[in-house]
Subunit: 230 residues, 2 copies
């Protein structure tokens, strides 16, 4: 019943990345800059945020020294505090910009259709692709929430609840219209968002799967999980 299967590359995707010292590759840095292009920031502040995202994603918030962030931005260690009140403030701004970006992407995807199945596919594949494309940012905003102050974490939770509510409502609408078969709407919502968030943990830009391809796969899986009669 069993045959040989490759275990090389896909198993690598399962693992947590070795710490990357050299920063982002060129294309990802461009993507990142583009995602933050509409934020009205002084050049040094933008460089600090990008440097902080790289460092936090590679080493973790607590393992990153403010001196390292400053160096990535081409500043002295004191230069950080001209633009940000504290290291936590840097994390908060990253988290805020990142979550606002996700919410924007989710809203745009939801606006594409009122029909539950189409909307679910669009929303899940959009969140997935976003987490893959900006996996560096996504890793920081999803796995460093515990490092935020209570006040800041509470602000971020408000944004996260909006995404949760939209997915849950889409499932509920599909059940009501008979398009979906979901015995546990709350649990399935949780599982769907969980699936997309975990992309930030394992996704590598060097892998074989493009963000949009992964989004398409996860969109299909979402419809299966929703018991879509298609």
């Amino acid at each position: 019943m069993s045959g040989p299967l490759r275990t090389d590359d896909s198993a690598g995707e399962l693992d947590t990345a070795p710490v990357i010292e050299s920063g982002l590759d060129e294309s990802e840095a461009r993507d990142l800059a583009q995602a933050w292009l509409n934020e009205p920031l002084a050049p040094a502040a933008r460089r600090l945020l990008i440097g902080a995202v790289e460092a936090f994603a590679a080493r973790g918030y607590h393992a990153t020294a403010t001196r390292d962030i400053a160096a990535r931005a081409g500043l002295s260690s004191a230069g950080v505090y001209v633009h940000f009140a504290s290291k936590e403030e840097l994390l908060y701004q990253i988290s805020l910009i990142g979550h606002r970006g996700t919410v924007q992407v989710v809203r745009a995807a939801a606006a594409r259709s009122d029909e539950p199945a189409q909307r679910l596919r669009a929303v899940i594949s959009a969140i997935t692709a976003w987490h893959a494309r900006y996996h560096t940012t996504a890793r920081v905003i999803n796995y460093e929430m515990a490092a935020l102050t209570e006040r800041h974490r509470s602000d971020i939770s408000t944004l996260r609840r909006e995404i949760d509510a939209l997915v849950r409502q889409t499932l509920a609408d599909g059940v009501a219209s008979g398009a979906f078969d979901v015995p546990d709407v709350r649990g399935t919502t949780l599982a769907l968002l969980s699936l997309t968030i975990d992309v930030a943990r394992w996704f590598r830009a060097t892998g074989t799967r493009a963000p949009e391809e992964l989004g398409a796969l996860y969109g299909d899986l979402a419809l299966r999980m929703a018991g879509h009669r298609g």
Copy 2:
């Protein structure tokens, strides 16, 4: 098409936990002790491992001071180094014990049936329940891998690959027998394991869902994702 939906408790599950200062609740501490009962350890070494798991899960590896781990075990800060060569060695032992436990659970679940659908359900629900019940340990071993030395991380990856291979093989067997419809076996394997791992991020012992209930839900979702013709 839309109606009111509660957003209180389930959205809370989506968030990362606030840092818990007071350690494990009683029942979880008992679970943890029981899970490590068969490990041949000196009492102080066991107390250190349990204290380290609590601290690493609550604050993160880098944010945890060895002095704090020692205090949880009722030792002076130097007492740690009688039993473990370094802080990283503590993390490695936790990771090793945790991963061996998961592999054991997965093997036991797989042994319950040769039939792909039953095996997939058993394996996914077992991994899920394990990650929920031992979510403190699971969080450490899944999210602090980057803090391991290259050598140690490589050891751990070997154990993770076994789990990956078993799930992938089960999907492949089901496709071969006609029980499953999976266009992308590698991607679906990744998604299935991703789903179970992320439980460690959001699961709270104080939540409404018991580990076994969550396992049952995820077992059902796994069959749907595999396109099981039931």
